[in-house]
């Protein structure tokens, strides 16, 4: 085949060689971005994760698999410990529960906004996005105020006998989930809303017409149609949840240890970068596997 064939591309007479060069030009910014800000840092991370920690927190470049075996619980002073695996399990559970509540809350929100007429739709969408205008730490501090002992929620909980009088609703599991769900809700609600907007309601009517009760209408006519938005929402919620450390740290009172906190600790107070890198890489791998599963399942639905 001739290398420099003349061709017409979008009404322009040019050659295949020119087109290829132009393609490279347009591709280069994205390519370099991914190279320098994703691929290379990841490579460094993997490299560091196989190194040893120096006595004063530096990195000793001698190869070891110790960081990974430690993560699996081996090599401790007292033999095998499940600590890190438990943290991983807790992170997965927290992320799963947070995602679950986000899904439960997002469907009504998405349908509510979807059913608004004209401008009020945009007002509600803006209200949903407004929390993003504030820093996450500040938003989390705001929960301190809301959950303080003298505020109605804590008083109500005390009146129900769930907590002592004069106690706050934080720190604790409840506060962590509240913070997590409120942080990630828009990430679930927005893609879901986009799917709801694109829904073909005649399928819902067809399901009703064919003797379906509400649950079956949802399962067979609504869920398959909103699955694209739902799967994006799950990805956008579940994955950042796994790495979240601000909210569990603040609202959990530094007792609620998740993968995110563990990593932050290694790069912070513990000054153990190689171990931190090993955990990060491990988390990334798990996330990637989860992503692949969601994609595969998603394709089956579409």
């Amino acid at each position: 085949m001739k290398k420099n064939k003349r061709t017409i591309w979008r009404g322009e007479l040019t050659t295949t060689g020119k087109l290829a060069r132009r393609g490279w030009l347009f591709m280069s910014p994205g390519f370099f971005w991914i190279c320098f800000f994703l691929a290379i840092p990841c490579l460094v991370l993997v490299l560091v994760s196989f190194c040893q920690r120096e006595a004063y927190g530096g990195i000793d470049f001698t190869f070891t698999g110790e960081n990974y075996s430690r993560l699996m619980g081996f090599g401790g002073l007292l033999g095998w410990t499940p600590d890190y695996i438990m943290i991983l399990g807790r992170s997965l559970l927290t992320a799963a529960i947070t995602t679950f509540f986000c899904v439960i809350l997002s469907y009504p929100i998405a349908f509510f906004i979807g059913s608004r007429q004209g401008n009020s739709k945009y007002v509600w969408l803006t209200l949903l996005i407004i929390p993003f205008w504030t820093n996450l730490v500040i938003r989390t501090y705001a929960w301190f105020l809301v959950l303080a002992p003298e505020m109605p929620p804590a008083r109500f909980a005390a009146w129900l006998g769930l907590i002592d009088h004069g106690a706050a609703l934080y720190p604790g599991t409840f506060a962590v989930y509240l913070g997590m769900v409120s942080t990630f809700l828009p990430f679930m609600a927005l893609p879901l809303y986009a799917s709801v907007e694109a829904m073909d309601w005649s399928l819902v009517q067809a399901a009703q017409d064919l003797y379906s009760r509400r649950t079956r209408v949802f399962r067979c006519a609504i869920l398959p149609q909103t699955y694209p938005g739902l799967s994006i929402g799950i990805v956008l919620t579940f994955i950042p949840c796994m790495g979240m450390f601000v909210v569990p740290d603040m609202l959990g009172g530094a007792k609620y240890m998740l993968m995110g906190n563990l990593i932050q600790q290694q790069f912070g107070v513990s000054r153990d970068w190689p171990f931190g890198a090993a955990i990060s890489f491990f988390l990334m791998t798990i996330t990637l596997v989860a992503l692949i599963i969601i994609r595969k399942k998603g394709l089956k639905h579409l």
Binding site: Q205, A207, D209, L210, Y211, R213, C220, P224, H301
Partner: protein, 343 residues
């Protein structure tokens, strides 16, 4: 009794979609609701299906009042306008959907879906997905999906609108034959008058949220009640007339005679173009000599317009009517229809 709709009204905000609509459909009848878009015909169908509730009035199916019963508990199924097939389910699963909702056992489902596939010649497509089917096949799946449930009434919402013109006329005949074979009550909504005339036992013509006329295709076409029906269905020559004597009409085309009852002193009359006959010499009765202004040759007939007026005639005469030809028009006495006054 198949279906009885009594005094049904429905408003969307301030806009009336249905205004005290009543009709009766006999069991085993092919009944068509015909009207222009926005006349409320689809709303009426949705109310019969139970997909929408009416503000007032009563619906009864097979003698049982179902006004407030939701769609999933009514023994009625719908073929939707764009078929609304579930894209993630195969043809087989689409057809089995209603039976699975009602928790029939596997053997019954298999048997009934198999029969439905066979009846609509879909057996070879049962494993395919809706996106892999042609328009005609999709329509048959929609029909099978509704009919497999053995509904008391089958509702069809513009079932031909997604088909191309050539296929449409063929499918119309097939649909009519299917209905005759099954002996089931079909209620179809359409804006296409040819379609309505082709398939229906009876037609209800709707306009502006009300039913204007109900009758057999012949009645609707040959004896339209008012200007709307006359204009909406087929071609019509319409003109003002004043009554003289029992059956005489003074019109701009002279004094004509009709064999139909005249319900007014002054009003409008209509005559279909094919009921104006053309003659070379005066046949003697209800006639008018005119000059041809323009003519179109359509193969099996000719359409002809005349000088100094808007009359249109259709003829199957073999003479070619060129502009300038002098002809005698005969207004057929039993096809000159006095219209009811509009409300």
């Amino acid at each position: 009794m198949g279906l009885e709709v009594t005094d049904v009204s429905k408003h969307y905000g301030d806009v009336p979609a249905l205004n005290r609509v009543s009709l009766k459909v006999e069991k085993g009848e092919f009944f068509t609701i015909l009207g222009p878009s926005g006349c409320g015909k689809t709303t009426l169908l949705k109310i019969i299906a139970g997909l929408e509730l009416c503000d007032s009035g009563r619906i009864s199916i097979g003698g049982e009042i179902v006004t407030k019963i939701p769609a999933n508990k009514r023994n009625v199924n719908t073929v939707f306008q764009n078929y609304a097939l579930f894209p993630h389910l195969s043809v087989y699963e689409n057809i089995a959907f209603g039976l699975r909702s009602r928790k029939f056992n596997r053997d019954i489902i298999e048997e009934r879906v198999g029969k439905a596939l066979e009846m609509l010649q879909l057996t070879h497509t049962s494993e395919r997905y809706p996106a892999q089917l042609s328009g005609g096949q999709q329509q048959r799946v929609a029909l099978a999906r509704a009919l497999v449930n053995e509904p008391a009434i089958l509702l069809l919402d513009e079932p031909m609108s997604a088909l191309d013109a050539r296929l449409r006329s063929q499918v119309q005949v097939e649909l009519r034959n299917l209905q005759r074979r099954l002996g089931k009550t079909f209620i179809m909504v359409t804006h296409d008058q040819d379609e309505a005339l082709t398939v229906s036992d009876r037609i209800a013509v709707m306009n502006l949220a009300t039913i204007v006329q109900i009758g057999t295709p012949t009645e609707i076409y040959e004896r339209p009640k008012n200007k709307f029906v006359a204009n909406f269905i087929g071609d019509a020559n319409m003109f003002e007339a004043t009554r003289t004597g029992d059956s005489g009409l003074i019109t701009e085309y002279g004094t004509l005679e009709t064999s139909l009852p005249i319900p007014w002193q002054e009003g409008a009359v209509v005559i279909r173009p094919e009921n104006i006959r053309l003659h070379d010499s005066n046949p003697g009765f209800n006639t008018l000599p005119l000059k041809v202004r323009d003519s179109i040759y359509r193969g099996d007939h000719q359409e002809i317009w005349f000088e100094e007026n808007n009359l249109k005639a259709k003829t199957t005469n073999h003479t070619l009517y060129r502009p300038g030809t002098e002809v005698w028009l005969e207004f057929l006495k039993d096809a000159l229809v006095p219209l009811n006054e509009e409300e």
